[in-house]
Subunit: 242 residues, 2 copies
């Protein structure tokens, strides 16, 4: 990629509980904020259920299209935790109970006097060639295979795993943004705002309406990697909407 | 589809602000809950930015694969509101400023003494053959074209539009669920739980760990369309984890 280009990423959220509405996903929002800060552009996201074929198909579409893919969910001990096997199939890697993960988990349960049973051993299924991702909350590791980072769905664990993965990734210049809050409707300023956006193809400009105490307003956001360009565009925007 | 099968649906969330982390999407969760109640299975969701090609590609994948597709975002008056044109292209429909939508909007702004300018007229761009979806909050309509339901991103408007669309759709028997909360870790019960799930292929069983006051527990959820089967499986599950 060119020196100034941002690496791109995709997210795959895995879990029936998100699609049934039982659980409200929060990992997408967390990942989006963290990647933006790290200079990696989250370009798309998908949500699929606990369905082997759906996970494989999504990964085969996302992995070649982006620099990084982050998954959440489906790495626990129960029958519906099928992410590791699906990732292995999608990436063409063999998978089994890996010795390093078995050792981690065996020590964890032994220290607590808990049985390291067949179900728990399932969490040691890690594809060959994958690097383990530390799980400081409940030990069962995530892993990185190729450009796919496989992490837990429980938000506290997802966030801890991301914190350990992110510093090792190379980002571009972080994406910065400035916000201008105006007490005018979107439709009142859309014309000049659109014309300004066309003059700055290197920046991304968006408008987000709000209502507050019966008044209508709009947040105008300018995003980009060059703070000087953002400041220049923001100055012109401020004059436009005075 | 067979008489007892549930129709399937997909969601397409559109907006740079979701992927940059500026805004936390809440429409997916709302749609998931509403569809589950209506007997329609939300099978997958995607999030893309304000990018014409990305929206078109997602719709061309989702529309033929599901009974319904619901979109949120990108139907306002500004330059980054490109959903209607992308839907028209994806579905092969011509698009222009439609007379019915123009009349709605013109009356709205006239009543408020506001100019019906070029930007606001953009919200009357509706594909030929689409049925308008009422917007009780801010007038600018959504629309249904083929099996694609195009709605606003602002949650209050999305929810109002969905409420007017949903009663017209034919659902299967609603998906019901029962929850069993146990103070045991997932790994302790995963073996028998998985064996039980294999005996009830018509039901979906999932487990969701939690921590509370230092204790580890799991919510075991059984979902399905037949309340008798769910009750029978739940009774067996309760005995298994006693």
């Amino acid at each position: 990629m060119p020196a100034n280009a941002m690496p791109t990423a995709a997210m795959l959220v895995i879990g029936d509980e998100i699609l049934s509405g039982r659980t409200r996903d929060s990992n997408l929002h967390h990942l989006a904020r963290e990647l933006t800060g790290a200079g990696i552009e989250l370009r798309e996201a998908r949500v699929v259920g606990d369905d082997h074929a759906a996970i494989v198909a999504a990964l085969r579409a996302l992995s070649p299209a982006h620099d990084h893919v982050f998954t959440s969910g489906g790495i626990g001990p129960t029958h519906d935790d099928i992410t590791a096997d699906a990732v292995a199939e999608a990436m063409g890697a063999p998978i089994g109970h890996r010795a390093d993960a078995m050792a981690l988990l065996a020590a964890h349960y032994a220290a607590r006097g808990m049985e390291f049973n067949t179900a728990r051993q399932r969490m040691a299924r890690i594809p060959d060639g994958a690097a383990l991702i530390d799980n400081p909350v409940s030990i069962a590791p995530g892993f990185t295979l190729g450009n796919v980072h496989v992490m837990a769905g429980v938000p506290s664990i997802f966030e801890a795993m991301l914190a350990s993965v992110l510093p090792g990734l190379t980002g571009g210049a972080p994406l910065m943004s400035q916000n201008l809050r105006v007490l005018k409707g979107e439709g009142e300023i859309a014309g000049p705002f659109g014309a300004l956006a066309a003059e700055y193809p290197d920046l991304s400009m968006g408008s987000y309406p709000f209502q507050q105490d019966g008044a209508v307003g709009t947040n105008l956001v300018i995003r980009g990697q060059d703070p000087g360009r953002i400041a220049e565009a923001m100055l012109r925007l401020a004059k436009l909407v005075e």
